[in-house]
Symmetry: C2
Subunit: 191 residues, 2 copies
Amino acid sequence: MKKSLGAKTIVYPTPVWIVGTYDADDKANGMTAAWAGVCRSDPPCVAVSIRKARHTYAAIVQRKAFTISIPSESYATQADYFGMASGKTADKFAVAGLTAVRSELVDAPYVGEFPLVLECGLLHTFELGVHTQFVGRIEDVKADQEVLDQRGRPDVEKIKPISFAPETSTYHAVGRPLGQAYSIGRELKTG
Amino acid sequence: MKKSLGAKTIVYPTPVWIVGTYDADDKANGMTAAWAGVCRSDPPCVAVSIRKARHTYAAIVQRKAFTISIPSESYATQADYFGMASGKTADKFAVAGLTAVRSELVDAPYVGEFPLVLECGLLHTFELGVHTQFVGRIEDVKADQEVLDQRGRPDVEKIKPISFAPETSTYHAVGRPLGQAYSIGRELKTG
């Protein structure tokens, strides 16, 4: 018998991504987003939901671009700070001691120190009331050489991304591998 | 210097959720989704992207409802199977040995054995080409008593959800806690 917890955003895992933008003064800004995910394979797209009051909201509307930078677990403090401060009053990159790298593909900066970044052009804007969902077309994914495996693929155990647990509001590391997708379920399919 | 990997859906973490629906024959079906995430806080909503060819696509369009069931890591094999087989030809719940529980709130079933489930009514349908993004309003979240902490909140370390790593197509457990959100970043904000 399951217990009802009410209508809440309780679901796992949710990501911890830094959304990078330039504001009207050309100042680089970053905002932590957990209400986000992939939303299309071809062309590849991600969706991030942002409140209209956020500094990042106006920046995406104006520049029609954003980046997603994935913090490693060693940057959990900086990732949390990017979700607490506002780019309206703070230079978050400077405070966090991180480097805003200007994308050559889209009009937005990414976090140089983070191991994996996505450069996105704004494709769709879906109004959802308090939140606006921005769908960005992924123009490129860039990764540090050190997080690639021998076949040149990003290795999630080297990237060490962070996940966010709603309700308890805790950050968590990625844990041990549980198996290969499109493979471990085969025993049931053919069984 | 980062290496370009091209325009791909490489981003971490992505979730492993089972989308539960009833088809035109009233058969319960489940489909594994990783292109998904929270998209709104109030009212709480999740978004899942599904290809039009999927059996689940027609079911959501017809029933205007779906559930999200979160598998524990001990159900990784079943979760993978739900992403490989099609409800057009298979009774996936029967093959996987899982129980389809009829929701009392929405016209869709959830996985009884999984520790946390969301019951969603279809709120928006966004066409994204090959994928359609369904936005579901979360009507209730239900959890097994055993995964709640002393304050009655779901404990992600007891739920043991799975994350999916694109490109290497591997499943991963949730790892150790890295800190409290809206807290660990404070040292930078006041520093």
